[in-house]
Assembly symmetry: C2
């Protein structure tokens, strides 16, 4: 009997299995892990020691009482995820600003910073983001930890193998080798050589909910990001659904009305033309011209305070009508996501959610009406766990996801299977 | 070093790898397979002999010339899929009729039969289908072969682990243990004990295109089934996207117009209310009342011959307008599927496609218009390879899919990984 194929890949798979099992069942002993994964106790011992050494896992101290209660021998040592030694950096590169966070292994935000960004030049934007990352890495909190990698969420379609941003209409970027630009910009500093993961911002936000779900979330998971752009991140079979060209989940450009208003993409009646933050702002403020800015922070600031307060919004007919209509279209979009993906959970996130119940109330009601009309139970809907940091924290989660991701059943996998003859 | 976990599962994975590799690269030698899969030559020898013995693979005879050209020793023996020894049975259980086919390993239809079915009673329908299967198995063509299993495609949401049809509105069935009913009905005959696979009909049609694709198709693959019901089967990462409750791909119930007509499901403005065969028939025939029947064959028969001929349809203003409008909504639905799934390929199938270019021409044009407005390249679109047999042949393909399916990266898999310590 012999082992063939790529041992490193195989070992990574086994590490993944152990980390995920400890997350699933905190306090598992090595024997529990051997049972749950089917690996031998000696492999589990080696892997868990390695993971302990690297900072992924930590042994809990067993109380003497617990040991004596069991009656015999050395008590099994519970293993849990180590919250104190590793750090994961996440970048939300937005339309006019960037946010950088660092989290621990279970999604606790250790540090964050935001700054305006010049996104007319990908190289300058990368240099600015690199400086923000470097400042974070220089800080006391991260100096005490080992930083595992850096995730970057961007508002566009991404080729996650090459790290090329293929198309970001709201940034005006096309075919930008963003991972390489950022890697170059980080050279010479503390971030030099760290693994970089580039992914769509709604996709990383979905990973944030998936990897940091407490309790763990079920699948399929749809994260619906509501901002200037409207897009979904979808997790199915433990993996992102990214599509043939990285464009999957661009549900802001599903058409909700053939005769609807012109969308930023050129089509008529896209969801974004009804529920994008620019459209919502325009509807609330009235007037003939749409807002000049597409930056979500600027758009939110231009809105009256009453729009953020459901009670006051209800007493202002213009605001109420605008938010109700937009909310109903969000409900329609959720209904369509439900029919297409049959999600176990829809998570609503993005800056537009700051408008709160005056907008999201009608959205939930419209979804419930569709469900009632069809006599079906709608999927669970809740707001993003990390609020306005959903993209940045999600980008940090993407580092964990790509480091300890169960591989798909793709051909690459069968190459590492052992000789069972 | 030791191997742990479930050897049978491991062996199945390796068999899957070998069969898929031979399909990918027909004529591979054992050495080629060892290279491509990473398995040892001795494992490949054992597995390929087993697969040859069972009828999945066959050795091609090597010409003497080819051997001498290589110069030395015994020439490598090319392996190909065996088209002659195995059979796969597929059932399309429709609204008022059933079609049963048998195919070989590469999708060649060996035999087929159709019959009217009493679908008011699941038990009676199962008995009728069992008799049709039995007749097929008794025939000379299948007597000569080994039948591997039976796939059943149904117009509804399915739990493929339990074989329960959860909800089929057009049949009026809910929570029917169809796999068990059919298994009972097959007892005592040639079909007794054969593996049964129950799945949604659009899903199996997608598997038919995927497993029998010639040349092999890329992913994601979306099969859009156009009939009385409208639904999509989606293949991503070598697997069906079935959703939390088996309802994924129910894109006939995505809403295309908030103020649209009432759908059979109770909602307003669903795609099915615009492009379902009953709606299309109603629009072509005119009148105030929708068609009494929902059976696709009956609906197609009620249409004038001119509707099936693009030239004649173009000269009849009522028919032209009805088919153009329905076609444009099919184009809109394809646009939305594109935005949601970013498919490499959309396959159009189902009985409504028999209306041909007068309907599908405007659909393609509308998709092209949306793509042009957005400055993007739309996905490839083509018609189903197996026409009106798409569901039945797809159900046969589902047998192959479930027998030699690459497993996902689900926890089950890591249990069979070897001790790499």
């Amino acid at each position: 009997m012999s082992i063939t194929g790529d041992h490193r890949l195989l070992k990574r798979l086994n590490r993944t299995a152990v980390v995920r099992q400890v997350r699933q069942a905190p306090g598992s002993s090595r024997a529990d892990l051997a049972n749950a994964t089917g690996l031998t106790k000696s492999t589990i011992s080696l892997l868990s020691q390695e993971l302990i050494d690297e900072g992924w896992l930590v042994e809990l101290e067993v109380e003497a009482g617990g040991s004596q209660a069991r009656g015999t021998g050395r008590p099994p040592t519970p293993l849990v995820l180590d919250e104190h030694r590793l750090a994961f950096v996440g970048v939300d590169l937005g339309l006019a600003s960037a946010t950088v966070v660092a989290t621990n292994l279970v999604g606790k935000i250790l540090t964050e910073s935001s700054a305006a960004i010049d996104t007319t030049s990908p190289a300058r934007a990368s240099a600015q983001v690199a400086r923000m990352i470097e400042a974070l890495l220089q800080g006391a909190e991260l100096r005490r930890r080992t930083t595992v990698g850096i995730g970057i969420g961007v508002p566009g379609a991404v080729d996650d193998r090459t790290g090329v941003l293929r198309f970001a209409p709201n940034l005006g970027w096309k075919d930008v080798p963003l991972r390489d630009l950022l890697s170059d910009a980080l050279a010479g500093g503390l971030g030099a050589g760290l693994p970089l993961y580039l992914q769509n911002d709604a996709d990383v936000a979905a990973l944030g909910e998936f990897e940091f779900g407490e309790p763990p979330v079920s699948e399929p998971l749809v994260f619906l990001g509501l901002g200037t752009g409207v897009g979904a991140g979808i997790v199915v079979n433990d993996r992102l659904l990214t599509g043939a060209g990285g464009f999957a989940g661009e549900v802001g450009h599903t058409v909700l009305d053939v005769a609807g208003p012109r969308c930023s993409c050129g089509r008529l009646g896209c969801a974004e033309a009804f529920v994008g933050l620019a459209a919502v702002t325009h509807a609330v403020l009235g007037g003939t011209e749409p807002p000049a800015s597409r930056d979500p922070a600027t758009l939110l600031q231009s809105l009256p305070a009453a729009a953020f307060d459901a009670g006051r919004a209800a007493r202002d007919s213009q605001i109420r009508a605008a938010l109700e209509r937009a909310g109903q279209y969000i409900g329609l979009l959720m209904q369509n996501l439900w029919a297409a993906f049959d999600p176990a959970l829809i998570v609503l996130g993005g800056p537009t959610c700051e408008l709160g119940d005056a907008l999201l109330g009608p959205a939930r009601e419209r979804l419930a009406e569709y469900a009632q009309a069809a006599g079906l139970q709608p999927p669970a809907v809740r707001q993003a766990r990390f609020g306005r940091l959903a993209h940045a924290v999600g980008a940090a989660a993407a580092v964990i996801h790509y480091q300890v991701r169960p591989l798909s059943g793709a051909p690459a996998l069968v190459g590492v299977l052992p000789d069972a003859a």
